[in-house]
Amino acid sequence: MDFTFEEQQLAFRDAIRKFLMVEAAPEMLREIWETETGRSGELRAKLADQGLTALSVPEAFGGINLGDLDWVLVQQELGYFAIPDSLSATAYLAVYLLNHLPADLALKREWLPRIAAGKARVAVGHPINPLVADARNADLLLLCHDDEVHALRPDQVRLRLNPSIDQSRRLYKVEWSPSAETRICNANAGRKLWAGVIDRAGAAISAQLLGLAQRMLDLGVDHAAQRKQFGKPVGSFQAVKHHMADVAVKIEFAEPVVHRAAYALAHNRPQASVYVSQARLAAGEAALLAARKSIQVHGAMGYTWEADLQMFMKRAWALDATWGDRKYHKTRVADFLFAPGAVLGPGETFS
């Protein structure tokens, strides 16, 4: 029984954090978000240099073949620095799909090396989301149709942009026609694949929500420590302290839940999906509370565009409802919890 990460996992996480601290400062993200695509090839290249795009790609295709547990720590950082969806969709979800395709080596050979090298963006679309993120500047779209997996080129889809309150998100309504030519996996195998994608998206988003919650907490604490009212820092008022403490508690008890979910995915535990939904709910609660408490502590500043807080609040609000909203994840938890003979209670935490 060891519920800690390996030294090199933590070291990699720390390296990514240092890197993003410099390369993904809020003012830079704001610039990128003003652009039409909302994406920066330059940043993507740098992320590739860090190895992020190659994380799940098998060595045979130029990757470093790491798994869900390595990703979860990275995802927390992606959340903390509000890195847009495209990286995770391409390097984690799309690669998972491609890796697990029954056959179709050609497709793997064509795309996995380019993804690993940071030279390709892949959009992943499933009906659980009404829209597809980053469909516009994707080089490849992997879409779901009746549980089948279809691979489409940009010229095979029609896109309609739908602006989100989270400026970092680029959502598109995708119109396309499934055909034998676009299908790369049938419904039978596809069903399992898409379930795996939804769970991994769930783990990724839980971890990002955790990171976002931590960022909003840090911003709230910084503001409270500096901003003075009635002659002293607002952070010295007990009500403000307790707002921030409540957020810290929520994060403290959401993180291990997220980590268990990632472990369960990495080891194909039977209850992995339930753990993922539990993680989504715990991390979502932490992020929503962090948003509410941090804006409250910011006062009127928190309601402005200038204060960085808004970037992270809006992203938390948006992500909490993607790849399954709270209704979806509560249903999955309830189906497990209230099933006859559910295995619960002391001693069953890791069964």
């Binding site: 659980i128 989301n129 009404p130 829209l131 309609r160 942009l161 739908n162 602006p163 989100s164 309150i165 989270d166 998100r169 959502l171 309504k173 003075k228 009212q229 009635f230 002659g231 008022f237 009500a239 403000v240 929503l288 509410r292 804006i295 409250q296 006062g299 009127a300 928190g302 309601y303 402005t304 565009w305 200038e306 808004q310 809006k314 609000w317 948006a318 409802a321 993607t322 909203d325 709270r326 209704k327 979806y328 509560k330 249903t331 309830a334």
Partner: protein, 388 residues
């Protein structure tokens, strides 16, 4: 106790309902935080004023309808029920006007109120300063009297609607050596006075709902002073009382939202019940809006019998701001993945207004005195707990 409307009240309701049915724009106006929307809202206020509806509680001779508070509540109920536009001049009509009526000279009332009723003048407020938010007494902007004028230097911020408004009312330090609540004076000035620079502040939704105002030797004639020199604090507190009190948020607004939330829930019921907290929150929302309406009617009736607004100002502020959050968070939960779509997103359908309301609700517990300040006031003034 008699919880029934009089014939006169019923007739008034009928008149308002009929007039609104005939006059409310069929298409919602663009936000009044845009130049175009602002002027369209100004035109709407003028339209309202033709019937005295832009300021129903004012005396007729000043452009109102001479309504009592119950009639005001009736008007608000019909107004929100009809989905009529937001009130671009509410800072003037609901915050400044009551103060003007109490402290203004006859000349000032004649000069300002009729033009306010017809929205020829739209008013912004100048309370907060960068160092004086919750702690309003920390105001530093100076207004030094020099032969017949006050010369203003300093800065105001969070001035709602100031980007497009015509006039400003606010507090300035007329005695440079004074501390805290003393030596403050209440002034009224046109926002086009030379020396004024307005910097719009972009808010969460990307629009410029408020602004910073910089004063550089801005000259304001003495006759634009409301009340005595140095008496500004007490006068402003009266306004702040009104702001937090009865008229800032009429119950009808929240009853309308609660009703729409019930409809939204029923429309997505099967799906929504997958998260049992939603159904419970919808019930709490309706009950909360009803409770707020009942409490407001009770306060109105007490005032009619000569009572005064006390801590209700603070309890109201906390109650409606938290209710508004609950209702919009619940709507977001029902809408799920669609909740993040901007109102103008092609696939947003007709639910975009929930996002607008959700963002606006975030400000509720913060502005007009944070809810933390309100809780202190309740604990110290209403419950008599010792100050720290």
């Amino acid at each position: 106790m008699r919880l029934e409307y009089t014939e006169r009240q019923k007739q008034f309701r009928a008149e308002v309902r009929e007039w609104l049915a005939a006059n409310v724009p069929t298409e919602p106006l663009p936000s009044f935080d845009t130049k175009e929307g602002f002027e369209l809202h100004r035109a709407w206020e003028r339209k309202l004023s033709e019937r005295g509806f832009s300021a129903v509680t004012w005396p007729k001779e000043l452009g109102g309808r001479g309504c009592d508070l119950i009639e005001w509540l009736i008007f608000e109920e019909e107004y929100w029920r009809a989905g009529a536009p937001l009130r671009v001049n509410q800072n003037g009509v609901f915050l400044l006007a009551p103060t003007l009526m109490e402290y203004g000279t006859p000349e000032q009332k004649q000069r300002f109120l009729p033009r306010m009723a017809t929205a020829e003048d739209i008013w912004a407020q100048g309370w907060s300063e960068p160092g004086a938010g919750s702690d309003m007494a920390a105001i530093r902007s100076k207004a030094i009297r020099q032969n017949g004028h006050y010369v203003i230097n300093g800065q105001k911020t969070w001035s709602t609607r100031a980007v497009y408004a015509d006039w400003l009312f606010g507090l300035f330090r007329s005695d440079p050596d004074s501390q805290r609540h003393h030596g403050l004076t209440f002034l009224l000035l046109p926002l086009n006075t030379p020396g004024i620079t307005i910097r719009p502040i972009k808010q969460l939704n990307g629009l410029t709902g408020f602004a910073e105002i910089f004063f550089d030797d801005v000259k304001v004639p003495v006759e634009n002073r409301l009340g005595d020199e140095g008496a500004g604090w007490n006068i402003a507190m009266a306004t702040a009382g009104f702001e937090r009190g009865l008229m800032l948020r009429s119950p009808a607004r929240f009853q309308q939202t609660a009703r729409q939330l019930v409809d939204l829930y029923l429309k997505h019921r099967d799906e929504a019940d997958a998260d049992p907290s939603i159904r419970d929150a919808v019930m709490k929302s309706w009950a909360g809006a009803e409770a707020y309406a009942l409490a407001t009617y009770r306060t109105a009736c007490r005032l009619a019998k000569g009572g005064h607004i006390g801590a209700e100002a603070s309890t109201n502020k906390i109650f409606w701001s938290e209710l508004d959050l609950l209702m919009h968070e619940t709507a977001m939960a029902i809408l799920g993945a669609r909740a993040e779509l901007m109102p103008h997103a092609p696939d947003a359908g007709d639910v975009g207004h929930w996002l607008d309301g959700f963002l606006f609700a975030q400000a509720g517990p913060i502005y007009a005195g944070t809810n933390e300040i309100q809780r202190n006031i309740i604990a110290e003034r209403m419950l008599g707990l010792p100050r720290a």
